[in-house]
């Protein structure tokens, strides 16, 4: 079970958009039921990151993140999704 933290400004809007897309990608690659996603505010990432396998964020990387960090802005713009998808799938292995 991989624990994924999905962060954006408030943990509401853009992280929801990214979460739905990330879940679709993971399910399509056979990871259904093997991951758990939690959304949060970017300001909470430093404190929470310790207990997660990696974090995907739709905003900049803050200081003090204790796990791998993936920039997920592509899930909003639609540009460069393939590269980020590969990064995520590598971390799922």
């Amino acid at each position: 079970m991989k624990r994924i933290l999905l962060a954006c400004g408030a943990g509401v809007c853009t992280s929801t958009a990214a979460r739905v897309k990330v879940e679709k990608i993971l399910d399509a690659n056979g990871y259904k039921g093997q991951y758990k996603v939690e959304q949060c505010k970017i300001a909470e990432v430093a404190a929470k990151s310790g207990s997660f396998d990696f974090v995907i964020s739709t905003t900049m990387k803050p200081e003090g993140v204790k796990c791998p960090f993936i920039n997920g802005i592509c899930f909003l713009t639609g540009v460069g999704v393939d590269k980020t998808t590969k990064e995520i799938l590598d971390l799922m292995k």
């Binding site: 430093a46 905003t59 803050p62 909003l76």
Partner: protein, 452 residues
């Protein structure tokens, strides 16, 4: 126009929790989403609405009486509860203007792109609610939904131009190439920051000041966590209200719960809107992405992570509460929207070029003014909430929000409408003037691009 709005206000009579699922379902079908998906999206939005209503209710029943006691004990005049932007967004989408805002704003965006008055393809459908919010308040002031809709459109035009204008700064300081932030709340602070920045530039000595904010994030980090800030505020308010220790603790835990739960409910609302927003943004970006230099318009949440933005916002959380208490004329008790302060700074940060001192000065000015603005707009916001069938916190006379309730641009547009058509005329002239200036810039840039 009035017939279409009439049809929508008939559906609106059923209440937001019934109306929104129907509207989202219909939009979904129109945009070609499959039936089951559209239905689920509509129902999810309904769930979000009911969830938000419950949480705001919990906020009211717990905080309302405490605030009342606090007022009678100390003569504090903080009788307006800040219910936060998720509630404001829900109220905006549930208004008559809000129901038609998504297709209308898409149309405005398309017209602006075709006429070269914007370079932004705004795929951030969710944040159209800011324009609906302005529109809903104007509709209350003028008594005319058509006027409300016009105000919403003009608000969007102004914000789109600001989005284009600030895009180079967003690329340079925030590191987001090809992205602009046409965000109704964030955008309103860019012109103010430009003015304040110019003023500071003119003062000898002061213009050299900079404060290093690096360490702030570690020290003030707790102010970024809703569970801590909610609980702490609850405890303080309970104590000030003169509650016994049991009730103080209960209020603390309840307020922490409210701040944690509000975003979760808003997230459901967002999830329901997602199929609509995806279909709409796909439609618009497919049609218009190949027209020279274009920006993709995103939620300014993508820029919230800038270290300066986060640091200054964290410092301003306790400062805002303090200002609310001492500022003469303020009636707003800042609460749910203390989490929204970073959004103010997303465009201020590029304007002040990462200068910590200037960001802080900006923050104090806009928040102090913001408290007075949201006090001023609170009767209208309360009416809008009643129109949307929201349960108002008992005990609290009125509600407001620090987000768009304290937005200077929203305030200006709404209050200019106190003067009737003249006011709307002024807004229209400004919006169209900005659009034309933007058009000249875009065409000039396009010519230079061709020559190069």
């Amino acid at each position: 126009m009035s017939q279409i709005l009439g049809f929508f206000s008939a559906i609106q009579g059923l209440g937001a929790t019934v109306m929104m699922p129907i509207i989202i379902f219909i939009f979904g079908l129109v945009l070609g989403t499959e039936k089951g998906k559209a239905l689920r999206a509509g129902l999810t939005v309904g769930v979000g609405f009911i969830g938000l209503n419950l949480v705001i209710g919990a906020l009211g029943t717990n905080l309302g009486p405490a605030v009342e006691q606090m007022i009678t004990r100390f003569g504090l005049s903080l009788s307006v509860i800040d219910v936060g932007w998720p509630a404001a967004a829900a109220i905006a989408f549930a208004s008559t203007v809000g129901m038609v805002i998504i297709p209308v704003c898409l149309l405005v965006n398309i017209v602006m792109i075709i006429t070269n008055t914007t370079q932004t393809v705004d795929v951030d459908i969710w944040d159209y609610w800011h324009f609906a919010f302005t529109g809903a308040l104007v509709a209350i002031v003028t008594g005319s939904q058509t006027m409300g809709l016009i105000a919403a459109i003009l608000n969007m035009v102004i914000i789109m131009v600001i989005g284009d204008y600030t895009a180079p700064g967003v690329e340079k300081t925030l590191g987001l190439p090809g992205v602009s932030l046409p965000h109704g709340f964030t955008g309103a602070y860019a012109p103010i920051a430009i003015v304040i920045n110019k003023i500071i530039d003119m003062i000898p000595g002061v213009r050299k000041i900079d404060i290093n904010m690096e360490k702030v994030q570690q020290r003030f980090g707790v102010f970024g966590e809703p569970i801590i800030i909610g609980t702490a505020l609850g405890l303080v308010i309970g104590a000030v209200a003169g509650y016994g220790y049991g009730d103080v603790l209960r209020l603390g835990i309840s307020m922490g719960a409210v701040l944690v739960l509000i975003p979760k409910m808003a997230s459901l609302l967002m999830e329901g809107l997602l199929p609509i927003s995806d279909a709409a943004s796909e439609f618009i970006s497919k049609k218009f992405s190949n027209r020279g230099k274009m920006y993709i318009g995103l939620d300014s949440a993508v820029g919230v992570g800038h270290p300066l933005t986060l640091s200054v916002s964290l410092i301003l959380v306790p400062l805002t509460v303090f200002m609310a208490v001492i500022l003469p004329g303020n009636k707003v008790l800042p609460f749910a929207d203390l989490a929204v302060i970073p959004w103010m700074f997303v465009l201020i940060t590029p304007v002040v070029n990462g200068n910590g001192f200037r960001a802080l000065v900006n923050g104090i000015v806009v928040l102090a003014a913001g408290l007075l603005i949201s006090t001023n707009l609170s009767p209208l916001i309360t009416t809008a909430a009643v129109n949307a069938n929201y349960t108002l916190p008992s005990g609290a006379a009125q509600i407001s929000s620090i987000c768009d309730g304290a937005n200077p641009l929203t305030w200006a547009i709404v209050r200019l409408n106190d003067f009737g058509w003249i006011g709307m005329g002024i807004v229209a002239v400004i919006a169209l003037g900005l659009a034309l200036i933007n058009r000249n810039r875009i065409l000039k840039e396009a010519r230079e691009l061709k020559q190069a």
